[in-house]
Symmetry: C2
């Protein structure tokens, strides 16, 4: 048994949390694949949510925003159809999904969240959704298979499921945090077709839970990018059902421990999303160090990771640090280019914003790795941020040029 303050990754998923059931079933939105998931809490759970900043918001986002203040009993998620740009009818369909789940689960519809992901602009086939909700409700289980099925049912172009689970000791009890996510295309700063659902057995006030989730999302999901696009449907939900009997209060050591666990879980899920990015051959792990503050560091990191010229250079395993410099200059934040040092792994490739002789062979070895660590040292402060992106491969284009058809 670990000491207090120690956080341990563990096997098992959402259903590790006492009082949580999950399921995932196929209902015909995707061909021969699971496409409808339910996460169910036996008791009403305090819930926090972070949503896309895209001005075009899918119907379920409107429903979720409205209900984020409520105690939540279930989250219903479909893949294959985003229910976005679907107007009044789409909004009615989102509420109808909650209504259907309410009947199947025997809970108040106000206590149900709804999420969708997939193609934009097509109305949900409600007969399939109805059948899917009924069969997912019947399939709910506390077994690990429930989490795996749910994690699978929320995927779109993802190739693998994403999940995390952590355990810690707090007030002499064992407490947990677990989560699942989907990502792949459109992954970008400010959350892009990305869904993540986290559950904990700790107890929180709504305000504190929201505050912690907002901060953790800023430092995890909002630091990743595959293609710089932000979707109409992005959602992160965190449910706290209190089943451990331990309450977290702001300012406590418990609060700091939980926040560490939450940020770690979110960063781990974010990393899994990037690593499974559409057509990604490698992950670029970019650290911007020596920054005056988090905002400057994260903006610079995102500018570099979103640059198609930087991304294609990494695809070509080309130590083209000049493109990194140029992308930094495009971030729209103050920057003294003549102080910037750049490293690929341990190989310094630029100093004071200019060229230095470097071992091309050593750099080539770093560039061949599945994860390429890049360090940009600004010498302008003490804040450091690590963000993740991918290279840009012809495969990305193949996947995205025919997705709708």
């Amino acid at each position: 048994m670990e000491k207090e303050s120690e956080i341990r990754p563990v096997d098992g998923g959402l259903t590790l949390i006492e009082g949580i059931k999950a399921s995932g079933v196929p209902c015909g939105l995707k061909r021969n694949k699971k496409d409808l998931a339910i996460i169910y809490s036996e008791v009403p759970a305090v819930t926090a949510g972070v949503f896309t900043r895209n001005r075009v918001q899918a119907a379920p986002i409107k429903l979720c925003r409205e209900r984020t203040g409520n105690l939540i009993r279930a989250v219903v998620v479909n893949s294959g159809n985003a229910n976005a740009c679907t107007g009044e009818k789409g909004l009615a369909n989102a509420y109808a999904m909650a209504e259907l789940a309410s009947r199947a689960l025997q809970v108040n519809p106000e206590q149900i969240m709804v999420c969708s992901t997939g193609v934009i602009g097509t109305q949900l086939p409600m007969e399939k959704i109805r059948a899917g909700i009924e069969s997912a409700a019947a399939a709910l289980t506390t077994e690990p298979s429930g989490t795996l099925d749910a994690a699978e049912a929320i995927l779109t172009t993802d190739t693998v499921i994403k999940q995390v689970a952590y355990r810690a000791r707090l007030s002499e009890r064992t407490v947990h945090l677990a989560g699942i996510a989907k990502g792949s295309g459109m992954i970008a700063p400010n959350m892009a077709t990305m869904l993540a659902f986290l559950v904990t057995d700790l107890r929180f006030s709504r305000q504190l839970l929201q505050k912690l989730l907002t901060r953790a999302v800023e430092r995890s999901f909002n630091l990743i990018t595959v293609d710089g696009d932000t979707s109409t449907n992005d959602t992160v939900l965190l449910l706290a059902n209190g089943s451990s009997g331990v309450e977290v209060r702001e300012g406590d050591a418990s609060c700091r421990l939980f926040y560490r666990m939450l940020e770690q879980a979110c960063r781990r899920l974010a990393y899994q999303i990037v690593a499974d990015g559409e057509g990604a051959n490698r992950v670029i792990a970019l650290t911007v160090a020596g920054a005056p503050d988090f905002l400057v560091a994260s903006r610079l990191a995102r500018a570099v990771l979103n640059s198609p010229l930087v991304k294609t250079a990494f695809y070509g395993q080309d130590a083209n640090w000049g493109r990194i410099m140029s992308a930094l200059g495009n971030a729209g934040v103050g920057l003294d280019p003549e102080k910037v040092d750049i490293y690929l792994g341990s190989v310094q490739v630029a100093a004071g914003g200019g060229a230095v002789p470097f071992d091309e062979q050593a750099a080539a070895t770093v560039l061949q790795q599945e994860e390429v660590p890049v360090l940009v040292e600004l010498h302008a402060g003490r804040v450091s941020v690590t963000a993740w992106g991918t290279d840009l491969s012809p495969e990305y284009i193949r996947i995205n040029s025919g997705y709708r058809s």
Copy 2:
């Protein structure tokens, strides 16, 4: 002979302007290709300039900014090396280029502008530059071949030269505006590895010339995008040598006529740059109409044209209007999604932000065109802007993944 107020495209290039000579020669920066150009004015020309907003600015940008107030006699341009991220030595080399040209042309070095484009982070080979400047100075000519050679010498990954020339009648004289440009990779809003040099035989005050150029660039070069990246070297220069004897004064009909000619020339060059974009299969001509103002319309247009998901959909000839909606929502400007109509050519594909039944075959025909007209009608005002972008093809990645090596 045309009437006053009529603007006519004509053959011939920079050297159409009385008192202007041009040349382009190979000096070994690129393999077996012309890579050094000079544009020379027999009399000192009033000059306006617009430069990259990237925080990382190449050495020649610093020189040009400093000299934009001066009367200018010559512009020296090399391709193959950007002289960017080259520190003190790079800056000294930019000034040395002007010095070398000053001796070869027998003009004051303060009257010489210097531009570079190419790979970032490598010092200029000054011996080659010296030889190139001497041979380009000797090759200066008023023949059309001079313009063609100069237009060729400024190219990098471009596949064709870009030039325009216009003639108009003003105060009973014939007046001209001509220009050359290079673009291709890194073309983006806010000017990206893009050079353009324009010359007119009209006479201006410095202030007025700058005002008109700034406005025309905003409505032409700043509305195009290939990959959303903005380079360290972008420059547009406009030289007015007054050789027609006609002076343009602010508020005059002559001023309006000249501005029309200038915006048309800049838009024509911008279009040529996009059409020659790296790995571009087609040009997307996006009109955002019904906007409250230019800023909103241009931001929305750029957000759509910069979205990799939109660009790959056009590559795949996929009428995926949902991605256009999502990109509009990401532009960071106010938008009422439920008012938006979208057309591909004359085929309406979305109405009120949602799906409408449309003829997929008719849309497919539009999407196969070399230039795909897209209309986004916001129903939120009376301003309309047309911007140009490209699709995103695997070829873009091939070109950019190994450019440095």
